[in-house]
Symmetry: C2
Subunit: 330 residues, 2 copies
């Protein structure tokens, strides 16, 4: 494999190009260049071979997923993506072909999302490859979306469709043998490659009353919003938007509704909006060509509870029991 | 070991406190809060158990080194340290006691350097622990120190003393048995714990004509400055400042001069300054109580060479042969 300096010069430097502040990766660090009145939003996510992806996964898709999960976090704060730092600890199996694929994946995402590599660190590890990416976005100063700012009476919305990734994993594991090939492929793709809502997020500034991205599962992430706002959230299971493929999967296996509601990796946005702003949310959905679906509402926390709770109800308003509330990282 | 959310709440949240923009780690990301006219400088470094530190090293010192190597990169750009993101992939051996020590080390460094944890990501890995830290600093917009900006005739300076860390490693490896215990301990400490020049760096804004921190070794890092500036650097070996312990070590083993000049982990600053500004450099040295020693000069690149080169000369101006030019990461 290439030495470190050759690796940086040949593979990574083209990802920085001559973008302002990157010094073409020739400096100790980078400057984050912003327009007047903007401030920087930052987030970091790590992915480990064998934990968050498989050793045999195409390096292009590993790179794309690594960048996209971070861009989703920026979107949840209403930040437009700008750049990223990469810290890569490459394991013994990583060869030039893998690195070239990984960099090609990053290059493709840079074109899609308008971001630039600002800098990084590469090293070797005797263990599985571990990758961490720090993403930088820009918001008008002081206006980033938060989690703790919902108000009683707000309506709860989600973008896109929910549960595709969780069902895609089931399909890949052979648990949905009756599903047709096209539907299986759609769901598997939603599992493999998040679609961060990088256009929606900044468009929600000043409209959403609170926001996060759904990575741990709809119910678990709703619980985060509820806890931070110290309010209760009610989610109507029948209102949760499903893709045609997810509907087909649930027709075969109705018991997988729990996976839809609690499975991770949706990377859609869950946000609140004041009831007076329904028309604006609908107009935004039409403008972006992206479903924004009302799935519930925000209420005062039950007396005697410390922080907020999430109540999932069926079509008749009755509590829906869920086996699992979501996914944690340990 | 604690679950992820408990880990964040109990151990990491106190490191963020209620600092502006951190949302007490309750959001998807963080805002980087700057004063008017400032911009952000960012850098990332990764450390892997068994590669950059040993599994048995105290977790406090692992945390301190991880933060300090990044603060050194900020100092090299003249940035005052402000905050950091941590991405931690914890291996199977990591238990609560290790985590508590690691966090205690971070807390101590936060007090020393005035930085705050902004956010992060924690996950598990079946392999060795790998840690990556992204550090944020602030500089007046457009004034960050660079590498490629030296001019012919500039004088070359280093801060502090050079070679202690490389000799400390030799001492730890038993290669300096004749050295007294105090000198050995001093050198070993310089190897274990970098002293990032976080006060000097910002003080060099507008004074230094180019700067980097010496992590790969004096000669290798001087070569980086030379290449980026496309100028030649001449370093007088006899002018390189040595600690009393390093002098004692070289008295025992004169052949280790090569280690002094090419060994890594000094984390001192190497910078250029116009010859007209010698008095200002001397005054700064006196004000900070930190040696700033002239070790050479900048010259036009030799005709016919692509980029700059480093010439190390002895006390008589004769070229000094060096076995190794420095350390690379692969």
């Amino acid at each position: 494999m290439r030495g470190e300096f050759t690796l940086i010069a040949e593979l990574f430097r083209p990802l920085a190009g001559d973008a302002p502040g990157t010094y073409s990766l020739r400096n100790d660090g980078a400057r984050v260049v912003l327009a007047p009145g903007e401030e920087s939003v930052v987030t970091v996510d790590a992915m480990v071979e064998g934990v968050h992806y498989l050793a045999g996964d195409p390096p292009e898709s590993v790179a794309r997923k690594l960048l996209r999960v971070n861009l989703s976090d920026l979107a949840a704060m209403g930040a437009a993506p700008r750049g990223y730092l990469l810290a890569a600890c490459f394991g013994p199996d990583i060869d030039d072909a893998w690195l070239e694929g990984f960099v090609a994946g990053l290059a493709e995402e840079q074109r899609t999302y308008g971001v630039t590599l600002l800098g990084g660190d590469t090293t070797r590890t005797p263990g599985p490859t571990s990758l961490s990416l720090t993403a930088f976005g820009a918001v008008p100063a002081g206006r980033a979306l938060e989690r703790a700012t919902l108000a009683p009476g707000d309506l709860l919305y989600v973008s896109g469709t929910i549960g595709d990734a969780a069902l895609g994993l089931k399909a890949l594991q052979g648990e949905l043998p009756g599903l047709d090939g096209e539907a299986s492929a759609f769901l598997a793709d939603r599992y493999r490659l998040p679609q961060p809502r990088t256009v929606l997020g900044p468009a929600l500034l000043g409209l959403a009353s609170g926001c996060l991205d759904i990575s741990d599962g709809l119910v678990a992430d709703a619980a985060h919003l509820a806890e931070e706002s110290r309010l209760d959230l009610e989610i109507e299971a029948s209102a949760v938007p499903l893709s045609p493929a997810a509907r087909a999967a649930l027709a075969e296996r109705p018991d997988l509704l729990t996976s839809v509601l609690t499975g991770g990796d949706d990377y859609e946005l869950l946000f609140g909006a004041a009831a007076s702003r329904v028309a604006e949310v609908d107009a935004l959905s039409a403008r972006l060509g992206l479903p924004l679906t009302r799935v519930g509402r925000v209420a005062d926390a039950q007396p005697g509870t410390d922080a907020g709770a999430v109540h999932v109800v069926d079509g008749n308003g009755r509590p829906l029991p869920l086996e699992s509330r979501g996914w944690t990282h340990f």
